[in-house]
Amino acid sequence: MKKNGLRNLLATLVSLVTLLVFCVTPAYALSTADVTITATPEWLSMTNSVDNWTMGSVAEATTYWWSATGAQPASNPFNAGDMLSTISNLGSVLSDVKIHGHNFTAAGGAWALDVDGSPGADNVSIKYGITGENVTTMHYLTLSDVEIVDSIAATVGTMKWCMNLLTGTFTAGSNQTGVVTLNIFKHV
């Protein structure tokens, strides 16, 4: 009886070990797939020809232009000569460019970026446009990235653009600082 009991125990052990081998091996097999890191030697580089916009004192509910003449372009659609700044893709890859704004900063009564064209107290809205657009097709700048250029050629694709700013009403007379960010990335 003892011999039979020992055989049963051993048989159970063998079964368990066999089961263990089949259960565990696939988990280890998964780990044999290598982690890989792949990169192609490509370069991102861009310039934006005009990077400043100093407005001085501004009035409430008034539109100010960042364009070649400092005023609303007369041509419809905009032509290249109406635009103030040129984005150039100096990199080695076909790329897209996105744009986003930021709320302003100030010692007091900082302006918030309005995104629907009806700026209220301490709000401003900013619109941007490119060659070929017109006043009605310009886009509101938001806090989120939005594509301003699709497929700008490498070495050297260019695109000209302009902006305008519509003030709301003010609760303070502080100096305001605003930033617009352009972000270039590989086109897919």
């Binding site: 290598d34 192609t40 991102l44």
Partner: protein, 271 residues
């Protein structure tokens, strides 16, 4: 019978060891070329999940290519895209992006009012841009208070502060600092809704998994700096999507109204 079982156990363990623990690192040789870009791939050793994190050797696409010669006077980042394959929770991957400063050193003149307290003869003054090479010998500091005898003793690059001595106690003056600055950059993590077809936006937690070795590098004129980006997903992290994308962006720290940044796309494919 007992001997047979022992043999089976030993053979099983050996098999497990061979299947689960074989490791190799393949680093193909990369020959730089502009006209026909070639992928550079590193393969990380397979890891038994119970072994914990795997760490890669940072590998870079060093290049003296025509593109880099052409872009010598521009700010650039390379590569534009990095693909990480067969990744999993508990793994760690490292890759260096290359950031180039095409700017020259810029002369700076800054003025500021400084009040010294009773018995105060020294103090720190902040400058706006990074001091070139942290070299205080090139700093010229003057005061409109004739009783000051100002000397710059040290520079703290973290706070961009000059430690000066020679202030007349309990006095007011305007200090003018002449110095040469290098360019300060930022490198940061970003999620974009522009993703490849079939990819998902990076999980919210991913910002904690991406480690940027130096997020505010200061580069000398025409310097190219390698900055390590690490993707380190904790072993217990749940990654909901098999394929996802995050970005790292780099650009000059600027006070201008329109600022530019360069985004490297990172595509992660999970097992």
């Amino acid at each position: 019978m007992l001997k047979n079982i022992t043999v089976i156990l030993v053979v099983s363990m050996l098999l497990l060891g061979i299947v689960g623990c074989t490791s190799k690192i393949e680093v193909p040789i990369y020959t730089p070329t502009d006209t026909t870009p070639t992928d550079t791939t590193i393969t990380l050793p397979p890891v038994n999940p119970s072994d914990g994190d795997v760490k890669t050797v940072p590998f870079n696409t060093q290049s003296d290519s025509d593109t880099e010669v052409r872009l010598m006077n521009q700010v650039w980042v390379s590569p534009a895209e990095v693909k990480i394959g067969n990744f999993y929770s508990g793994a760690r991957a490292e890759w260096n992006i290359r950031l180039h400063n095409g700017n020259d050193a810029s002369p700076q003149i800054e003025m500021q009012s400084v009040v010294s307290g009773i018995d105060e003869t020294s103090g720190e003054i902040k400058i706006k841009k990074p001091l070139a090479n942290g070299d205080i010998t090139g700093v010229i500091i003057t005061s409109d208070n004739r009783n000051d005898e100002l000397v710059v003793k040290s520079y703290d690059p973290k706070t961009k502060s000059l430690f000066i001595e020679g202030l007349l106690p309990d006095a007011l003056r305007v200090i003018t600092v002449n110095y040469t600055a290098w360019t300060e950059f930022f490198v940061s993590y970003m999620v974009s809704d522009t993703i490849r077809e079939g990819c998902s936006i990076a999980p919210i937690k991913a910002k904690d998994w991406v480690i940027i070795e130096d997020s505010s590098p200061v580069l000398a004129p025409k310097e190219t700096r390698e900055i390590m980006i690490v993707l380190d997903i904790p072993q217990d992290a749940v990654v909901p999507d098999k394929t996802w994308e995050f970005w790292t962006v780099a650009g000059e720290v600027s006070t201008e109204a329109v600022q530019t940044q360069l985004a490297t796309r990172w595509l992660v494919n999970m097992r």
